[in-house]
């Protein structure tokens, strides 16, 4: 204890000095007045929006939701004094374990009243991106957009108009999955979908079935785990709302293992940190599988009962052997080798005792159980071999495997750090396979997808179809990477206009130079709706000022188990209007106003109008009182019944057919998960001599993607972008902490401040995601990233990137 205390004292003493030295640092924000602070007596607030008639000034409190795309969706209480938002506070949920708020959710006052908020519609007065604007009326803005959209629809097709929301807000009315879809369905436009966070989930789906991101236990179940392996997630920053569940597990004696190339805050709290070479995660997982099988640590009963492990695979076709393959008039039943009968029998669930290993000839066909094939296949992934790929010691790999197979129940909490590589699907398949081999799935404390199960954004009981499809569904979905081609080359069809809302498109998607120089110039028209002048809004022909979340009513799903009411707490500021209101005006101008002429409340009622919710007594009125309702029964543990939504109904670590998001790419189809080296980040890539550093861009607690980039309170702690670099790489380039440096490759470059950190893996550099162009010294980090497209996954591989750094 003494030494620890001494360290703190030293630390404080040093900071003390620095603090005094910098005490008079100026902050460049316009002065404001405090005189009125004492004016009104304070009366305890009530959860009622009809208190305005009180003779005293009452602090009104409204239900609110903080709903950017950070896996969170925190319930807020929104405090309003004299018609103005004065604070946001943590709000109560029906399941209070999910009550939380974070640093960003406490800055909404600064966000709503930020001096840089867009205040009125504007049209471009110079070249695109030149920054010259002319204020226009809403009438002119709506007329212009409606005219442009009509012209493009008439000249090309309605599909030539693309609606490009990313994930700025979850609200069913005003968010990325809200009125924009309803509008696009009626108009017949293209909706840019996916390409983000979607490779590893595809791999998991391949093995377990089910919806995107729908395979995990609910976050609160983390507390039940005896082992948590955090894999490619810095959850103490990016999902910090879930940390307290992990901390509860640790209080109960659980162990925490973190697999990450860099020493994150999460890694610093771990019992074991596995510093893995970037992009080699699938090899590590396959080696764990190898150890678990070689050392007989797998759960044989579970494998036999709930996976395709016992199913015989025809070695000539690669397909599962069916009864009909060996018997005329046979059924489609899978064949297994029955040890009791001493022969192959159709598997009918009961009676047969299938073997998992061996090699058999049945009716002249050479066959092996899928489990044996997995065993054979992972032979090349021995810890000794994989140590060379992953730079992890063989003994550490063995320990990781033994821990996962024996310290049960075990949860793997993976994050999108592993998804950001070209073959990001394979690690998903390998992790799901690990769960299948050990039975760490479908149980309390055991899931291969810890952290965000039961997300109501994924699986919701509301009447979503009726809301977004008032007529026929005429919207065309197009993957956002394929959409690049549609804009650039007119393939598979031309896109000529973009309506961008809830998205900072230019900073979200890769290859920024291509977007700005090759794609946007091909668009005849760009409209952007936002509440600040983002890098994307700067490229618009028309900019529309939208309301913030607390200026409208909405119904908001989340990445936890609740759906929440967002109440209009303050009037819209300036001339701002909600996304819903903007689409209403556009719809009227385009001749389908009858589908958008109701108040928000009516649409919320429509969303709640289902048998399930009526039976539960959940109505708009009940939500005004309660603010939220829990959706799945507690606890939410998928696969408890042992049933999987796969072709066989089992965990399919061996696949007859491979899911693909495009028709190309059959050469990438592997029936068992494999390790494929990253397309650019691999150490033996020819680019490594020119660009020796692997680049990553992790999420930061100071932003959610690009949101909150300009919040003064957050900027006081995290004032400017840095490139984090290891001491050895910095020294080799003559770079010292605080130096201005350029990070560059053939695609682009960015200049910013170097932050020398012992926690960065030598050979890597890291720039936290979400900074905008004006915050860099020059250039932009998003220019560094390629728009590679794996045809199976069609997912952006942001970390599969090489760069070099030099002092400027």
């Amino acid at each position: 204890m003494g030494q620890q205390r001494a360290q703190i004292i030293m630390e404080i003493s040093r900071r003390h000095f620095l603090e005094l030295a910098g005490a008079a640092t100026a902050v460049g924000v316009a002065a404001s007045v405090l005189e009125s602070a004492k004016a009104a007596p304070f009366v305890p607030a009530v959860l009622d929006t009809s208190q305005a008639a009180s003779p005293q000034v009452v602090e009104q409190i409204f239900h609110g939701v903080c709903a950017p795309n950070d896996w969170s969706g925190c319930k807020l209480l929104v405090h309003v004094l004299d018609g103005k938002l004065v604070r946001t506070a943590r709000g109560p949920l029906p399941d209070s374990r999910y009550d939380r708020i974070c640093l960003r959710g406490l800055t909404h006052v600064e966000r709503v009243y930020h001096p840089d908020r867009l205040r009125y519609p504007m049209k471009r007065a110079g070249e695109r991106g030149e920054g010259k604007w002319e204020r226009i009326s809403w009438d002119e803005a709506i007329n212009t957009i409606a005219t442009k959209l009509s012209e493009i629809r008439d000249k090309y097709d309605s599909k030539a108009v693309a609606f490009l929301p990313a994930s700025g807000y979850y609200g069913y009315l005003n968010g990325s999955y809200g009125a924009v879809i309803r509008f696009a369905n009626i108009f017949g436009g293209t909706y840019g979908e996916g390409a983000l966070d979607s490779a590893t989930p595809l791999g998991v789906q391949q093995v377990l079935g089910g919806p995107y991101d729908g395979q995990g236990n609910e976050a609160a179940d983390l507390a039940n785990a005896r082992l948590i392996i955090v894999w490619g997630s810095n959850l103490t920053e990016s999902n910090l709302q879930n940390w307290h569940f992990v901390a509860d597990a640790l209080d109960n004696g659980a162990k925490l293992i973190v697999v990450d190339p860099n020493f994150t805050i999460t890694a610093s709290r771990a019992d074991l940190w596995v510093p893995v070479r970037p992009g080699s995660d699938a090899a590590l997982a396959l080696s764990m599988i190898n150890v678990i099988i070689e050392e007989s640590l797998y759960d044989g009963d579970f494998v036999a009962s709930y996976t395709v492990g016992p199913f015989l695979v025809n070695q000539d076709t690669g397909l599962f052997l069916r009864e009909k393959d060996v018997k005329s008039n046979g059924s489609d039943k899978y064949m297994v080798w029955d040890s009791a009968a001493g022969g192959a029998v159709p598997y009918d669930g009961t009676g047969s005792r299938p073997v998992l290993t061996g090699s058999y000839t049945i009716g002249g066909l050479s066959c092996k159980p899928a489990f044996q094939m997995l065993w054979d296949h992972t032979g090349e992934y021995s810890p000794d071999n994989v140590s060379k790929i992953t730079d992890v010691q063989p003994e550490t790999i063995r320990m990781l495997a033994r821990e996962y197979a024996t310290r049960k129940p075990a949860t793997i909490y993976w994050g999108f750090g592993i998804d950001r590589y070209y073959y990001g699907d394979m690690i998903g398949r390998a992790i799901a396979t690990l769960a299948g081999l050990t039975g760490n799935i479908g149980k309390l404390g055991a899931t291969p997808c810890g952290g965000f199960g039961g997300a109501t954004l994924i699986s919701s009981p509301v009447n979503f179809g009726a809301w977004v499809t008032p007529t026929e569904g005429r919207m065309s979905n197009l993957n956002n990477l394929l959409l690049f081609d549609a804009i650039e080359k007119g393939e598979p069809y031309p896109i000529k206009a973009a309506y961008i809302s809830n998205s900072n498109y230019v900073v979200t998607f890769p290859n920024q130079r291509k977007i700005l120089e090759d794609l946007f110039p091909k668009l005849d028209f760009i409209a952007v709706a936002d509440f600040s002048m983002s890098d994307t809004a700067k490229q618009a022909d028309i900019v529309l000022p939208v309301t913030t979340w607390f200026e409208n009513d909405d119904l908001v799903p989340s990445m936890h188990v609740h759906i929440m009411l967002q109440q209009k707490a303050i009037d819209p500021l300036y001339e701002c209007r909600s996304d819903l209101a903007i689409f209403s005006m556009l719809a009227e101008k385009l001749g389908f106003g009858e589908h958008f002429n109701k108040p928000a409340e009516d649409y919320i009622r429509l969303l709640l109008d289902t048998q399930e919710l009526r039976d539960r007594g959940i109505t708009y009125e009940s939500l005004k009182k309660d603010g939220a309702f829990r959706v799945p029964p507690e606890p939410h543990i998928p696969f408890r019944d042992g049933k999987f939504d796969t072709p066989s109904g089992r965990i399919e670590f061996y696949n007859e057919t491979i899911m693909s998001r495009s028709t190309a790419g059959t050469e990438l189809e592997h029936k068992l998960p494999v390790f494929l080296p990253p397309i650019e980040a691999s150490p033996d890539n020819p680019l490594s001599s020119k660009y020796p550093l692997v680049f990553c861009q992790p999420g930061s607690k100071f932003r959610v993607h690009t949101q909150y980039f300009n919040i003064p309170w957050l900027g006081e702690i995290d004032p400017y972008p840095t490139v984090d670099i290891s001491p050895s790489d910095a020294e080799a380039r003559g770079i010292r902490d605080g130096d201005a440096v350029e990070v560059f490759n053939d695609r682009g470059s960015v200049q910013l401040t170097a932050k020398v950190s012992n926690g960065i893996r030598p050979g890597m550099v890291s720039i936290a995601r979400g900074w905008t162009k004006q915050q860099f010294l020059a250039g932009a980090s998003q220019t560094l990233i390629a728009d590679y497209r794996n045809p199976l996954t069609l997912n952006c591989s942001f970390f599969d990137t090489r760069v070099e750094v030099r002092k400027v």
Binding site: R15, V29, T107, I265, R269, K701, P712, I717, G759, P762
Partner: protein, 216 residues
Amino acid sequence: MKMAKRLAMVIDLARCIGCQTCAIACKLENNVSLGLSWNRVFTIGGPTIDTPKGQYPDLSMYHITLACQHCERPVCVQVCPTGATYQREDGLCLIDYDRCIGCRYCLASCPYSTRTFNYREPQQIPDFPIGNPDVQPRKAGVVEKCTFCVHRVDKGILNPACVEVCPARARFFGDLNDPESQVSRLIAERNGYQLLPEAGRIPKVYFLPPRRKGYS
């Protein structure tokens, strides 16, 4: 002086992840001016925020938060020439902003460097007061610092804002005079310790040590 209560805060460094939520919550609740902070988060590790000490891959890092320690023998009260800084019956060290003349003896004397000074009129983004309307406003020329959210304490609200919001559930507040209070029990069971005890000020902010990690 025998205190009626000894209100204290406990911060569990095994749970704290340095997320800064307490720091921002304090600014919002108390309408703390841009450029000032009553509650700060420090990285115990490398020289800059959220960096570890050691050499890759043998590294370590944890975080602490630092605000007024509400000492039982506060030096700030002793040095204040006007009586603006005072100690209440429940142990809270507070500032009467009307009596503060801005001499900053207290800043110089505080062993924990947790006091801040309004060199100019407080500034914030909206042009109206924000935060909890019960909080007393400050003006240029006065010292300010953590009050343990006295406006909440006086209303019988259990926790200061930073304790209420902590997403790690790492902060606790209560009365040390009650041996059964959560803070008393945590300090006893988890070897809670104070910062700089040798300064002799008997702080009422306690830290629970970081978790003993590893497999050995």
